[in-house]
């Protein structure tokens, strides 16, 4: 990332439109330990997991979830190794395919923040039957002034806000379901 500019020139190129990931993405997008953002036996490693649901409340067995987040100290990982896991580098990026029960999981760490904002994972959901990707965020549940001050969370109704905040398990892990549709529909983002 380089210096942020004050004046943005007009765009000159039309963006390529997205398409569904389809039913057969697994063999094209897999790589070993893709869900191990942090090595499972490293200090601070936790599981972030949940289920991806459709509008009828049924789990989606052919979805793909990706996360990207800062390390526990808030630093953004810039080290290569996103594809080739070496069992010690924290790369920030993970990819998981849902199981037949719609379950996804990552080994990762609680993201931190350098400048005091509420930390979150960014997540993208893809699925057969979903015509394009969906962006969302997964915030940590611990109450804090930063969480209360977060501009996105402040703009939401309480029931919407709840769809972006993970639950802490007794083991200190994170649980976060994603609902593509329905009463508990997750808040998705446009930039």
């Amino acid at each position: 990332m380089t210096k942020r500019s004050e004046t943005v020139p007009p765009k000159t190129h039309e963006a390529t439109a997205g398409q569904t990931v389809g039913p057969f993405f697994a063999y094209g997008t897999t790589f070993p330990k893709k869900h191990e953002v942090a090595f499972p036996h490293s200090p601070g490693a936790i599981v972030l997991s949940g289920i991806v649901f459709d509008g009828a409340g049924a789990p989606i067995p052919d979805a793909m979830v990706e996360i990207f987040a800062a390390d526990a100290d808030g630093s953004v990982p810039r080290a290569r190794g996103t594809l080739n896991r070496d069992d010690h580098t924290f790369t920030g990026f993970g990819r998981a395919f849902t199981s037949d029960e719609g379950h996804y999981e990552f080994w990762t760490r609680n993201p931190g923040s350098v400048t005091g904002e509420a930390p979150f994972f960014v997540a993208i959901v893809y699925a057969r039957g979903l015509p394009d990707k969906l962006h969302t965020r997964i915030y940590l549940p611990e109450p804090s002034p930063a969480l209360d001050a977060d501009p996105l969370l402040r703009s939401l109704e309480p029931n919407e806000r709840a769809t972006l905040i993970a639950q802490r398990t007794p083991a200190g892990w994170l649980r976060h379901d994603i609902h593509l549709q329905g009463e508990k529909e997750t808040v998705f983002l446009a930039y």
Binding site: E14, A15, T16, P23, G55, D62, R78, T82
Partner: protein, 275 residues
């Protein structure tokens, strides 16, 4: 922690067939109705995405698309970065899908090449591009594909590459065949290659499909037509390029990919950089 669900879930392959199984004629009519309606909404000033999430002709989307409008946010911190890749992360052989087995795959050998650009036309270097596709007979190697066309023991159909300093990529592969699916009666997907692309910022991440010029299945396909504007649909069609065709070896197609930068992804070029 694993398998918290108490519901008994259906086998994934049993979900692939839409329950109503209408005719192609009905699906095509639904596509036309939707496109006309999108056109009216756009003319009335509504801002619509390029790819419509709510597109019922694609039957499996009915329960899988959000019903609320996405929240518009300013990308923050981590969203303005993306995973780091380098040239050594991918072996050269991974971009040649015809060399991954002992023998040569059957079918029409082709190369697809292009550039990865941002909305300002700047090349994006060191970015991962992943592809996957059916073989020449229209069969995916995935175990849930039940299309009774032959598997090719010399073709997996998956490849990866890292873009070079000018944002270029190149794959050698076999032209995929059209693929039957169970969205409706006699449903066939136009031949396509799936592309998964990273950008400079996580907001630019895109998964899409490249198609081939002149495919008669275009007007019939609910997935291709989930893109509401003809110009956007046209941009997903690789262009035949005779300059990329190699004598007595392969047919050449050009497919440039532009990731959508929200304005927050505009950065001043590094010193000494001349994009």
């Amino acid at each position: 922690m694993a398998h918290e669900s108490n519901t008994v879930t259906a086998a994934p392959e049993s979900l692939l067939a839409a329950p109503d199984q209408v005719s192609q004629r009905e699906i095509t009519a639904e596509i036309h109705e939707r496109h006309a309606a999108f056109g009216r909404r756009a003319t009335a000033g509504e801002s619509l995405p390029r790819t419509m999430l709510d597109f019922p002709p694609y039957r499996s989307s009915i329960l899988r698309h959000p019903t609320k409008n996405p929240k518009l946010v300013d990308p923050e911190t981590i969203e303005l970065f993306s995973p780091a890749y380098g040239q050594r992360d991918v072996a050269a052989v991974e971009s040649d899908l015809t060399l991954q087995h002992a023998g040569e795959p059957l079918g029409e050998r082709m190369t697809v090449s292009g550039r990865l650009l941002d909305s300002w036309g700047r090349p994006l270097r060191n970015q991962l591009i992943e592809i996957w596709q059916a073989n020449a007979a229209g069969r995916y190697i995935h175990q849930r594909d039940q299309h009774p066309a032959p598997l090719d023991p010399n073709f997996t159909g998956a490849g990866r590459v890292i873009t070079d300093e000018a944002g270029r990529y190149r794959f050698t592969t076999i032209k995929p065949g059209p693929y039957p699916w169970k969205n409706h009666v006699n449903a066939w997907r136009p031949a396509h290659i799936h592309f998964s692309v990273f950008g400079q910022s996580f907001t630019q991440r895109i998964v899409t499909q490249m198609y081939f010029p002149g495919d008669p299945l275009f007007p019939l396909d609910p997935i291709y037509n989930a893109i509401r504007d003809q110009r956007d649909r046209d941009r997903l069609i690789g262009a035949y390029d005779h300059d990329l065709t190699e004598p007595e070896f392969s047919m050449g197609y050009r497919f440039d990919i532009v990731v959508d930068g929200p304005n927050a992804t505009w950065f001043e070029p590094d010193e000494g950089e001349h994009p």
